[in-house]
Structures are given as C-alpha cells and as structure tokens.
C-alpha cells in the first residue's frame, strides 16, 4: 500500500505514541499465538525494534500495517526456530538418560487455598472474566492465519485491504480466513452457551 506523496515523515513522539497505543494488544496477539508470557514479550520487543530501526521514519499512518506485518513475521520466525530446536532436542534426547524429567518437587504441586491476599471478585467481574477466558481460549485454538485475520479485522479495526497488506495475502484470502474464523468461533462459543452474531456482508 503506497503512502500518499504528501505524507510527512514521523517524529520520535509519533512513533512513541503509536507503540504505546499498540503494545498491550501486540502482547495479547503474541500470547494467543505462543501461549508463553516471556516469549510473547520477546516477540513484541523484537517487533518494536524492527519497526523503529527499519521503518522509524515512515509516515505514522503506515505504522499499524507495518507493525502487524512485522509482528506476525516475528511470531512465524519463533515457530520456525522452535521447530528446528525441537528437532535437534528430540535427536539428542534419545541418547541421554531421563533423570531430569523425574525430578519434580511435590511442594510445587500443592495449592495454597488459604491465601486470602487477593480480594474476591464481585459476581459481574467474575462472569466477565469467565466470558473473556472462554473467548481467549477459543481464539487461541483457531488456526494461526484465521486468528490473525480475525484479530486484525475485528480488534485492530483494519479494513480488508490493510489486513491483506499486513498478512501478505490477497483481500479474498482475508475474507475467507475471517469468515472461517467467525464460524469456528461461533460454533465454539455456542458449546459454552454464548450466541455470537455478526453481519454476513
């Protein structure tokens, strides 16, 4: 997507504002994909660095699309590295004894049920937390491309063309991914008693 010729180059403040506005959502995006807090933080940090280093002087209007493209590529890179690492680990683990796996401290498994340091949440908050947990679990279980398309369209509010640019695919693919994601989500949520509705167009 080409920027208009009159677009002005961004300043440090604009980049800072953009990163501040997107960092929490970016972290959640990464969490849905990798389900590990530390890895998700690393991915967000990498994505921020890449945006600042390579595209820090681009017009601010291009930041959302560029950042999400970088974020998704960084997540993909993580999975590729993990695949290679797990291949070598599996290869070498067959030659090593398995003592380490058996060393589990029983104290780690005990639940601290008498800890009252956290105040109990009111009913409404609890219901909302449950609803959110259900939605997040459903989103996490979606195929990566479908989840990506769904989140960019319905959470980041990018239009179809911007989503296509961020995902590096055609607008038709974005529509297909979104439609499949919505139907899968609706089916998953229906099992939990939640009726998800949307406009079909």
């Amino acid at each position: 997507m080409a920027a208009p010729r009159s677009a002005t180059l961004s300043t440090r403040e604009q980049l800072s504002d953009f990163l501040a506005s997107v960092e929490r959502r970016a972290y959640k995006h990464a969490m849905f994909a990798v389900r590990d807090e530390h890895v998700a933080l690393d991915i967000v940090q990498d994505a921020m660095l890449k945006l600042a280093e390579r595209y820090g002087d681009k017009p601010a209007e291009e930041f959302p699309m560029l950042f999400h493209r970088i974020l998704q590529n960084t997540i993909l890179d993580h999975f590729r590295r993990q695949k290679v690492r797990s291949y070598w680990l599996t290869l070498f683990s067959s030659f090593t004894p398995h003592y380490a796996e058996e060393e589990v401290d029983p104290l780690d498994l005990l639940e601290d049920t008498e800890n009252a340091s956290q105040p109990q949440q009111p009913d409404a908050s609890l219901r909302q937390a449950q609803l959110l947990a259900t939605i997040e679990a459903a989103l996490s279980s979606l195929p990566a491309r479908q989840r990506e398309a769904f989140l960019l369209r319905y959470w980041e509010q990018l239009d179809t063309a911007e989503t296509a640019a961020a995902m590096g695919c055609s607008e038709g693919s974005v529509k297909t991914h979104c439609s499949r994601a919505t139907h899968t989500l609706a089916a998953m949520l229906k099992e939990k008693g939640i009726d998800l509705s949307w406009d079909s167009n």
Partner: protein, 116 residues
C-alpha cells in the same frame, strides 16, 4: 452462560483484557518501547544542508511548495558552481597560452616543451 454477543463486542472485551495486564508485564513493555525508540531510524539531512539550515539560509515551508523552492535553490547553486568551474578552466587555459607565446617571442622556451 446463555449470552448473546455481537462480533464487535469481542473487540471491546479484548480491549478490556489489555487493561488487566500485571505490572511486571506493563513494565517490560514500557522498557521494550523505550529501547526501540533509541534505535529509531531518522533521515538525517546532508551536512551542507544542515549547515545552511543552521545559518538560516534555508527557509522552511510546509508542504510541496517548500520542497520545490529548495530544489530550485540547489539547481541554481549547481549551475553557478558549473559556470564558475568552466570560466576558471578557460581563464587558466588562456593564461598558459599567453605564457607560451611570451616564451617563444623571448626565445626562452623551457626544455619540457620539446619533450613529447
């Protein structure tokens, strides 16, 4: 649960979930942002333009008009340098010729003039 949910509500719920991140995570995100900003790529102007800018020789105009004026100024500067260069070369060429003419007349040509 027996709930009805619109697809746009999902986005709002997810937004709410971002406000519930723990302090440690927010702190790390803040640190990541600060680190990234230190590496921000900025387009630095050429040293000559910086000098002209510092001495107030370039007047900033917003938009396309200012850019055109700067380009025109640079073009004029380039033409002036070219004209200066050509006239200097012509002057030194003529000066060399007059030196040789005088040397021929006074029969005082240097030895290197006979060497090819």
């Amino acid at each position: 649960m027996g709930l009805k949910l619109n697809i746009n509500d999902v986005g709002q719920l997810l937004n709410r979930s971002t406000t519930q991140l723990d302090y440690g995570t927010l702190d790390k995100l803040h640190t990541a942002r600060r680190t990234a900003l230190q590496y921000q790529q900025t387009r630095q102007p050429a040293p000559v333009l910086s000098w002209l800018n510092e001495h107030g020789l370039i007047h900033h105009h917003h938009g396309h008009h200012g850019h055109k004026a700067l380009n025109f100024g640079m073009a004029v500067l380039l033409v002036a340098v070219l004209i200066g260069g050509v006239s200097y070369w012509q002057h030194s060429y003529e000066h060399d010729h007059s030196d040789i003419d005088i040397a021929i007349l006074t029969d005082d040509l240097p030895v290197d003039m006979y060497v090819d």
